[in-house]
């Protein structure tokens, strides 16, 4: 036992020494990589993602496999990732930078490396989530679950056909359920399943049909477990709404912060009076946006006004910063314009995406029965428009930093 422990200790010491050597080699040869810590983050992220994917994907799929693990496993992982990301951004603000002129290429490389770090930090929860959703899709395609979905479709057709005189609002829930069940069946067919009703007795299918029949007459009846399960399966396997809109916005803003904050902290350099107003303005717009969306209590009757003011402030700041540098106004004003541009302008994609989502949610599907809610903002899938908006926001941050970087660096180095 003692010998084994000694061997373990020796092995650990050897591993540690190698890791230190690796760190030293990166530090000496590629200081930029070492500065962003990507040489540790990327391998750790890959290892975590691989481990998570293996753990999730390897067990055999059964029809009755629980689905709540997505919530219970991915969310803590994402919380840890976000926390780590925030700490990492703070760490990046303390990076050692010389006064020597900073080339645009170097700024761009740093910005891209930092974006890479963000991707690596958020990678494990996203990979694990993807694997779990793929697993949910396989569970949904199981014969038993397809059978339940078929029974729901049949029973819903029967209900909707038998009670045409009822109020549309009363049958809406059944219609929505039918829609989801049919999409599940389509997804199963797409995966190569027959989509025919399975042979033999299926208690879950029978129970679902009975519930729909009951719901047809009594809309207030609470959903059965099978119905909840089918809704979950639809949500995880077909709708794929993760992460939810507020969280997506948060991740986007964190990505922007990862690019902007380290540079801003460097060039701010105890000129808090110049950057303070920009931060206050950014906070104002964040709170206003949240109120408008309904994430925090309040009214959004002035939506057009705040959106217009956000656009106006962003446009003015984006143009003013280079103009101020060109006209050689006081460095504090230049820094204020620059800070406002990089803090406020990235909020535009969020505001637009959320505003679009809110206006769409008024006419779109109602809430899913099984998920907790933040308010009127309903979970919705990531659309190409939203992705484009976020990509444009991150791209703006990178380009603006690269474009203005040498000027800001020069202003930073100049005496006050």
């Amino acid at each position: 036992m003692k010998v084994a422990i000694h061997r373990l200790v020796d092995a650990w010491a050897a591993v540690r020494q190698r890791l230190q050597r690796y760190d030293r080699a990166v530090l000496v040869r590629r200081p930029a990589l070492r500065q962003t810590r990507i040489h540790w983050i990327a391998p750790a992220s890959a290892l975590l993602s691989l481990t998570g994917a293996v753990i999730v994907s390897l067990p055999r799929v059964e029809a009755e496999d629980p689905l709540r693990t997505i919530d219970s496993f991915v969310w803590p992982l994402l919380f840890v990732a976000v926390l780590f990301l925030v700490l990492w951004i703070r760490d990046q603000t303390r990076a050692l930078v010389s006064f020597a002129p900073l080339a645009r290429r170097r700024i761009a490389a740093l910005a891209l490396l930092r974006l890479g770090c963000v991707a690596a930090i958020l990678g494990p929860p996203l990979v694990v989530d993807g694997c779990m959703r793929a697993r949910a899709a396989r569970i949904a395609a199981h014969d038993d679950n397809v059978g339940v979905a078929l029974a729901i479709v049949e029973a819903a057709d029967h209900c909707l056909g038998a009670a045409p005189a009822q109020e549309p609002g009363e049958t809406a829930a059944v219609a929505r359920l039918r829609e989801r069940a049919s999409r599940l069946i389509e997804a199963a067919r797409a995966r190569g399943h027959s989509g025919r009703p399975p042979r033999g007795p299926r208690p879950a299918a029978t129970r679902s049909a009975v519930w729909i029949e009951k719901h047809c007459h009594d809309p207030a009846a609470s959903p059965s477990e099978d119905i909840v399960r089918i809704e979950r399966l639809h949500l995880y396997a077909v709708a794929r709404v993760f992460p939810r809109p507020p969280l997506r916005a948060l991740l986007y803003l964190l990505a922007c912060a990862a690019v902007v904050v380290p540079f801003l902290a460097l060039w701010e350099d105890r000129r808090g009076r110049a950057v303070g107003p920009a931060v206050a303005l950014g906070l104002f717009f964040v709170v206003h946006t949240s109120m408008a969306i309904g994430w925090v209590p309040g009214t959004w009757s002035t939506r057009k006004l705040w959106l217009a003011s956000l656009v106006a402030v962003s446009a003015v700041a984006v143009v003013a910063a280079p103009l101020a540098a060109w006209r050689r106004v006081r460095p504090e004003w230049c820094l204020l314009a620059f800070a406002t541009a990089v803090i406020v302008a990235p909020l535009l994609p969020v505001a637009i995406a959320w505003a679009t989502a809110v206006s769409a949610s008024a006419t779109a599907e109602a809430a899913c029965a099984c998920l907790p809610r933040f308010g009127p903002a309903e979970p919705s899938a990531v659309g190409p428009r939203e992705l484009t908006a976020y990509a444009a926001g991150v791209g703006f941050c990178c380009l603006y930093i690269v474009g203005m970087g040498p000027t800001m660096h020069r202003l930073w180095a100049a005496p006050r």
Partner: protein, 619 residues
């Protein structure tokens, strides 16, 4: 030529056994001489006569030197005898005589003069340096043990006398040394310093100067070897510094270390060729240049000797209408110089350094960085990123670091653009040079204030600056650490390949004045009290000012007042100031104080020091 005086001396000072042993040892390889000596049946006089008959020609001179080396107390008499006999090696007898009288410092100086006068090879010089180092080591050990002499002392004396004899013979041969002409003058100067440190048995300081030499003139391989030697010297010093007596093996190890230092020094000096202007040093402007030198001068090689910073009439207030912090301050800083900025608290020393560092904008005056600003000839505006990247500012409040020291320095070197082997070499060099090699793995909180200051200096130097600004580095350092820090700073500035200059602010005025080339004294109101070298201040003085510590008796005070006039004495806290005319010397005042009673416990002549500023004196 009469041998009678020598015969009488031998008969008087030696016993037959001693003479026989001496002759055998002297002519150990000369079988003919031993064969000509009579047996023990012959009396002492017969033995002496036979010996004198056998020692003819040059053999006689060698025997006299040998005798002086083995019996240093006879050196004086032997010298006279040698002079009468026409033996042409009087310096060897002088050295032996000095050593026998325990005038070691004079003997070492004499040997040094001999070495300069003779055409010694590097091997001879090394041998001499090692012998003198051994003598110093013996003195230190004897002082610890309270010994006056011993076998080892005799052996060292013999060795030094023989060396003196051989150098004296070479000097008389009259051939010229060619090495000094071929090597770089700075390399030769550094070698002299290293040899001086070796002779003082200060291996660590010699190794540090060797590092400077290697940094300036050696390639990476040579620097690596110098680093190894310095590390060995450091280890050796840590192990043996307080040891009263070295074992024979330890002494051999120590001498081998010194020998290795000297050997590497010679190797570097041999490979250090002078540049086009190096031979001229700082006086290149005044020197007459040949055509090639003129071409190089016009090509822009010479401006590196020009000023690094030039500021004129600087004035600054922190807010409009506020009190002036700097008022009409002018300064020019040249490469390889140390400028001290002194003054009372709140005089604007830190502000001045921040202005030089490019942190603060002045409201009036001109500042330029002729050698740091590449855009200077073309544009009026200073290219601050370039200029500031060549300035290293070590503030009073030292910047903390996270992680381990070597990681921090590697990261900073990387941020300054050093990659790969260059990064490693630079960090290793400065860690060793500043005595931080043993702290590689430590964190900030584990370092003492002295080491933190050194770390800040290491960080500054890793970035390869041209201008080093150090604000109050001596605060919280003990006296030894202060001396060590200032000496390192002086050495680095004067011999580093960076060709940098340092501006240092401090309240430790005498210590700083000892190493500074130029001193700026700032008054309370931010104006300049005096600007110039210590000698300039000495010349500009109108009277002499002395600090006398301790209590002065009334009688003494009255006598001093009667001697130097009323108002010559002023009480300032625990110090009495004595102001006298410029013609009164320090010696005169001290003699008077000793005559009047007990000599003072503390006495300092501050006539040529900026300390005068603190006592309300005018330059």
């Amino acid at each position: 030529m009469s041998l009678a005086p020598l015969r009488a001396l031998l008969l008087r000072a030696l016993t037959p056994d001693e003479l026989r042993r001496g002759l055998s040892a002297f002519a150990v390889e000369d079988g003919g001489l031993r064969a000509r000596l009579p047996g023990p049946e012959v009396g002492f006089e017969g033995l002496v006569d036979a010996a004198l008959a056998a020692l003819d020609g040059p053999l006689l001179g060698r025997f006299l030197v040998y005798l002086a080396a083995s019996r240093p107390e006879l050196a004086g008499e032997l010298r006279h005898v040698a002079a009468q006999l026409g033996v042409s090696e009087p310096e060897a007898f002088a050295v032996a005589s000095l050593l026998s009288a325990h005038r070691d410092a004079a003997a070492a100086r004499k040997l040094e003069e001999l070495e300069r006068a003779s055409t010694t090879t590097s091997g001879d010089r090394r041998e001499l340096n090692l012998a003198v180092a051994d003598l110093h080591r013996w003195q230190r050990e004897a002082g610890e043990r309270g010994e006056a002499s011993g076998d080892r002392r005799v052996a060292i004396t013999r060795r030094l006398t023989n060396l003196a004899a051989s150098m004296s013979a070479q000097a008389s041969s009259g051939s010229l040394a060619v090495e000094a002409v071929a090597a770089h003058p700075d390399a030769l100067r550094l070698r002299e310093e290293i040899e001086a440190h070796v002779r003082r048995a200060d291996g660590k300081r010699a190794a540090l100067r060797l590092l400077d030499l290697a940094e300036r003139f050696g390639d990476s391989q040579v620097r690596r070897r110098a680093l190894e030697l310095s590390a060995r010297a450091g280890t050796w010093r840590t192990r043996h510094v307080f040891k009263a007596r070295l074992e024979a093996s330890e002494r051999r190890e120590w001498l081998a270390l010194l020998q290795a230092i000297l050997a590497l020094t010679d190797e570097i000096v041999r490979s250090a060729a002078p540049g086009p202007f190096e031979g001229l040093g700082e006086h290149w402007l005044a020197a007459s240049l040949d055509a090639a030198a003129r071409t190089s001068l016009h090509a822009g090689a010479a401006p590196e000797y020009g000023p690094l910073v030039r500021c004129d009439g600087l004035a600054l207030r922190y807010r409009k209408g506020g009190p002036p912090v700097l008022k009409d301050v002018s300064l020019t800083v040249f490469p390889r110089t140390v400028v001290a900025v002194v003054g009372p608290n709140g005089a604007g020393k830190t502000t001045f350094l921040r202005v030089l560092a490019g942190e603060l904008r002045v409201e009036d005056g001109m500042i330029s960085y002729p050698q740091l600003d590449p855009a200077l000839p073309r544009h009026d505006d200073i290219d601050w990123p370039v200029v500031r990247s060549r300035i290293a500012h070590v503030p009073q409040r030292l910047p903390r670091f996270r992680g381990r020291l070597d990681e921090y320095l590697h990261a900073w070197a990387g941020a300054c653009g050093l990659r790969g082997g260059e990064n490693v070499d630079t960090v290793d060099f400065w860690l060793e040079r500043l005595g931080l090699a043993h702290c590689r793995q430590v964190r900030w909180r584990e370092l003492s204030r002295s080491l933190q200051t050194r770390v800040a200096l290491a960080r500054a130097l890793v970035g390869r600056p041209r201008l080093l600004l150090v604000d109050e580095p001596l605060v919280a350092l003990d006296p030894r650490a202060q001396q060590w820090f200032l000496q390192d700073l002086r050495d680095i500035v004067s011999s580093s390949s960076l060709r940098l200059a340092a501006v240092v602010s401090s309240q430790h005025i005498p210590e700083l004045e000892a190493i500074a080339d130029d001193v700026v004294g700032l008054r309370d109101d931010g104006a300049v009290w005096f600007h110039g070298g210590v000698l300039d201040l000495e010349q500009a003085r109108r009277g002499a000012l002395f600090e006398i510590g301790g209590h002065l008796e009334d009688a003494t005070r009255d006598r001093l007042t009667a001697q130097f006039g009323p108002g010559c004495l002023r009480e300032r806290e625990s110090v009495t100031l004595l102001r006298v005319g410029g013609h009164v010397s320090r010696r005169e005042v001290l003699e008077l104080l000793c005559v009047l009673g007990e000599p003072p416990v503390y006495f300092r002549d501050i006539s040529g020091s900026h300390m005068r500023m603190f006592w309300g004196d005018r330059p």
